[in-house]
């Protein structure tokens, strides 16, 4: 019999089958492991994506921080370049840098890349830097200014009301559009008012007469008086009754009078108001000077005033006191008259705020007789002075300018041209809102041209003949008139501006005077001109009937005797100094920094070497002129590249100005309009050839005369695209 050694045999499987369980378990384990790995992979991918999305958002706000830093830099006059790709600014746990480059249109393109962990974001901001308005010059002549006739220059602020209010007067109502209609409406109104008054007064008189008739019989009972001591009680009763009747009649009378007056008020206020409103303020003012016809009562006597209280008392004894033969009383408007002062020649004025300047010497009234009043500052050109006769009054400073002013050229808009416009018809011609250009514009006698804003009108020349009228209607928007040739508004023509806001109208003349020729801008029309007149290359002749409220800047000025010019001080307070945002957009992340978890590793920089955002501004392109108080309290000034200026020693800034060089050319003396914006080369020695070099550190400043090259007016808005 064969023994069975199960146990022994169980320990030792057939060699061929040994390990099969292990193999199966390994297969199963592998399957599960693969499953796990797959699941882990999916989960990791999702986690990575979600974490990456969050880090991308952090990078987005990092880039927004950079754009904000750059925008603020542009606001204070810097280029907006912050750090660079190889040396970004460190902010929080991330980094950013901003590349700044000018555009041909004079804008600045800021592109910021932000990095946070594995997140990357690049954002772009296009901004237009704000330029100072040339109108801040007030009344300005580039050439020497010589005035030998009466002249008044003062200032006002259009943001605080009309000139006449600030000069102490009452504003005149706007001119009437249709005087005939107004007159008819007014006449009808007057008629109705007179009828109403007559009707009510007649009724009042009747009521008064009724009262008198009612009270008359009571006199007998009241005359005896009340005597308690006598024995006639009937008399006493009659007296008391008479008193009671008297009281009732008087109360009824007062009630009737009140009703009639209320009726008069109601009809004047409601029914006749619509008639009143048909006439304009200007015509109303005229009517107010007309005498009001006196109202007569039923007795044929003028009822000037009905004082019920007086009547009540007087009815005890006498009739209603009626004025007899009183003269009609009219209402007269008071015409404001300033008390004339010793130096008053020109009527009302504000007494301050004026500004007269020039790049050359200014000579006023040297004959010692001519009355000239400058209620404000006079600024002759740098290195020159003011020469004034004994009859000249200047209220403000007369210090010469520190530097000459360079008047930027005019940017005439590119508007499709049409043939010459000559308007000589009786029907007013209206140029609607929008851009339009003409070879020339001429308005003939008795013709009216209306230019309705918002509009930009370009003309080769602009002529108003005697009797012609042009109206600049800025009710709905600004009107800019560009004239590339001559402007001739002859005496006897009219120029009207509908709104008393000088910022809404500009007359810009880009024509050039021929050598030795008379000024090509002749302003001798009759006008209260609210606007800015700018003629940088042509002389302007102003007649006494052409009164300017705003600013007048010209290559040369010829002011006729009796001219009044009023500088609008609102120019200096107007508008925002913040750059205009043109557009914001998301840009593509530079390929060099894509990918990777550690931004430092990606760009090959050392974290410890990086600067904070405020310290990472690239300043090589910035020229600064700063007057400041240092830590010791001393007043100091500095002109030079801002990169060489230590702000740590500054306690407070008195005044500072920055100019970008490289992107906007710094002009040398006598070199006007030499360089174009965007891609322009600077006249600076050793400067980078491209304005978007991002702050080349290799500029050589050693031979530069900063004082001579400083030109603070180079950033006027008209200076863009010089020569472009």
């Amino acid at each position: 019999m064969r023994e069975t050694h199960l146990h022994g045999r169980a320990h030792r499987a057939h060699p061929g089958r040994r390990g099969s369980a292990l193999a199966m378990s390994l297969v199963a384990a592998s399957s599960v492991a693969i499953l796990s790995a797959g699941f882990l992979q999916l989960s990791s991918a999702v986690t990575r994506r979600q974490a990456g999305a969050i880090e991308n958002r952090q990078a987005f706000y990092m880039a927004e921080a950079g754009l904000g830093e750059a925008f603020n830099a542009v606001h204070i006059g810097r280029s907006g370049q912050i750090g660079s790709m190889s040396e970004p600014a460190a902010f929080g746990g991330g980094f950013f840098w901003v590349d700044s480059a000018p555009t041909p249109e004079g804008d600045i393109r800021l592109e910021c890349t932000g990095m946070a962990g594995s997140g990357r974001a690049t954002l772009e901001l296009l901004v237009t830097p704000v330029q100072e308005d040339v109108a801040l010059l007030g009344v300005f002549s580039e050439e020497a200014l010589d005035v030998d006739g009466e002249l008044l220059i003062d200032g006002f602020d259009s943001q605080h009301g009309e000139y006449v209010e600030q000069a102490g007067g009452e504003p005149e109502p706007a001119a009437c559009d249709d005087p005939d209609e107004c007159l008819k409406a007014l006449e009808k109104y007057e008629l109705e008012v007179a009828k109403l008054n007559a009707d009510i007064d007649e009724k009042l008189a009747k009521v008064a007469a009724d009262l008198a008739a009612s009270l008359a019989p009571l006199d007998g009972y009241l005359s005896g008086g009340y005597d308690d001591d006598d024995d006639d009680d009937d008399d006493d009763d009659d007296y008391r009754k008479a008193l009671e009747y008297q009281r009732l009649y008087r109360a009824k009378y007062a009630e009737d009078v009140a009703k009639l007056e209320a009726e008069r008020e109601k009809k004047l206020g409601e029914e006749l108001k619509s008639l009143r409103d048909k006439s304009c303020d200007a015509c109303d003012a005229g009517v107010a000077t007309a005498p009001v016809a006196p109202a007569l009562n039923g007795f044929g006597r003028q009822l000037v005033d009905i004082d019920v209280d007086v009547l009540r008392d007087d009815f005890l004894d006498v009739q209603v006191p009626l004025a007899d033969g009183a003269e009609p009383v009219g209402v007269q408007l008071d015409v404001p008259q300033d008390a004339p002062s010793d130096e008053e020649t020109f009527g009302t004025h504000t007494g301050s705020g004026g500004l007269l300047g020039s790049n050359g010497p200014i000579t006023l009234g040297t004959d010692g007789v001519t009355q000239i009043e400058i209620h404000g500052d006079v600024e002759p050109g740098s290195g020159t002075d003011l020469t004034a006769g004994g009859s000249v009054y200047v209220a403000g400073d007369t210090d010469a300018r520190d530097e000459p002013v360079e008047l930027p050229p005019i940017q005439v808009p590119n508007v499709a041209g049409m043939p010459a416009l000559k308007h000589d018809g009786p029907v007013p011609m209206v140029l609607p809102a929008g851009d339009v250009g003409f070879e020339s514009i001429e308005v003939a006698e008795n013709a009216v041209l209306v230019v309705r804003g918002p509009a930009r009108v370009v003309a080769g020349s602009f002529t108003l003949l005697a009797g012609a009228e042009v109206e600049f209607d800025t009710t709905d928007g600004q009107v800019d008139l560009f004239v590339t040739g001559a402007v001739n508004m002859v005496p006897g023509s009219y120029v009207e501006t509908t709104q008393p806001d000088p910022s809404q109208l500009t007359l810009q003349v880009s024509g050039v005077d021929a050598d030795g020729a008379d000024p090509s801008v002749v302003l001798e029309a009759e006008s209260q001109f609210y606007g800015t007149i700018y003629s940088p290359d042509a002389g302007v002749s102003v007649g006494a009937s052409f009164e300017v409220y705003g600013a007048l800047i010209a290559h040369s000025l010829d002011l006729a005797p009796g001219v009044r010019l009023h500088f609008d001080n609102a120019y200096s307070a107007k508008g925002s100094t913040l750059p205009d945002i043109v557009a914001w957009s998301v840009s593509e992340v530079p390929a060099a920094v894509r990918g990777g978890n550690d931004p430092m590793q990606r760009i090959g920089a050392d974290r410890g070497d990086l600067r904070l955002p405020a310290d990472a501004h690239v300043l090589d392109e910035v020229l600064i002129n700063v007057e400041y108080v240092d830590d010791t309290g001393a007043v100091c000034d500095f002109v030079g590249p801002e990169s060489e200026f230590d702000w740590d020693g500054v306690r407070s800034v008195i005044e500072s100005r920055r100019v970008l060089i490289g992107s906007r050319a710094l002009r040398n003396e006598g070199d006007r309009g030499s360089a174009a914006a965007g891609g322009a080369t600077s006249s600076m020695p050793g400067s980078p050839s491209s304005p978007d070099s991002g702050g080349d550190q290799n500029w050589d400043w050693s031979d530069v005369d900063w004082e001579a090259l400083w030109d603070p007016w180079s950033d006027y808005k008209y200076s863009q695209n010089d020569g472009a």
Binding site: L22, I54, A65, G94
Partner: protein, 176 residues
């Protein structure tokens, strides 16, 4: 023996697999919390951008008496995040805080706050000029700041541990 070993191996593998599932489930919670918090922080920053720039400090600082629309009407500098649990030591159950360069009690007077250029916080990039005059002084610029570095910190009790999140940016006066 083999079967035992095989079973042991299987058990281990299955255990590991289940562990993986557990870990990914935990990770899912963490991801969700991160996303909720990040969304809350970003939305807060966007709401701040929507406000008048001059009012941002007064709306989102700790001072209730300078609130532009009346005391106590502004959101303040601390707020809750819906969907996450605040930490145990969080004051009033808040999960999110805004940090400006604000000095508390600058002159030792309780309940006063000043927006200061000399506030020291390297992560915020301060001390720095805030009002555009290029000078760092010790004055209160709450009414004339032109650039405002800020940080939003979030802290919450996650499902498995305490978690934090930070977002940093700068607000700037873009328009008057």
């Amino acid at each position: 023996m083999e079967v035992a070993v095989a079973l042991a191996i299987l058990a281990t593998v299955v255990g590991l697999f289940l562990g993986t599932i557990g870990a990914t489930a935990r990770q899912r919670w963490v991801n969700r919390e991160n996303a909720v918090v990040a969304e809350a922080v970003c939305s807060l920053v966007e709401r701040m951008r929507n406000e008048d720039f001059a009012d941002v400090v007064r709306l989102y600082n700790a001072d209730p008496f300078d609130d532009p629309r009346g005391p106590g009407t502004a959101p303040g500098n601390a707020m809750r995040i819906a969907g996450v649990i605040p930490t145990e030591d969080a004051e009033a159950g808040m999960s999110m805080w805004i940090t400006f360069p604000i000095t508390e009690e600058p002159d030792g007077i309780e309940g006063t706050w000043e927006l200061r250029e000399d506030f020291v916080d390297a992560r915020l990039g301060t001390p720095r000029d805030l009002n555009g005059d290029s000078v760092i002084d010790d004055l209160d610029h709450a009414s004339d700041y032109a650039i405002l570095p800020m940080r939003v910190d979030a802290a919450w009790q996650g499902r498995f541990s305490q978690r934090t999140f930070q977002m940093q940016t700068m607000l700037v006066r873009y328009r008057d």
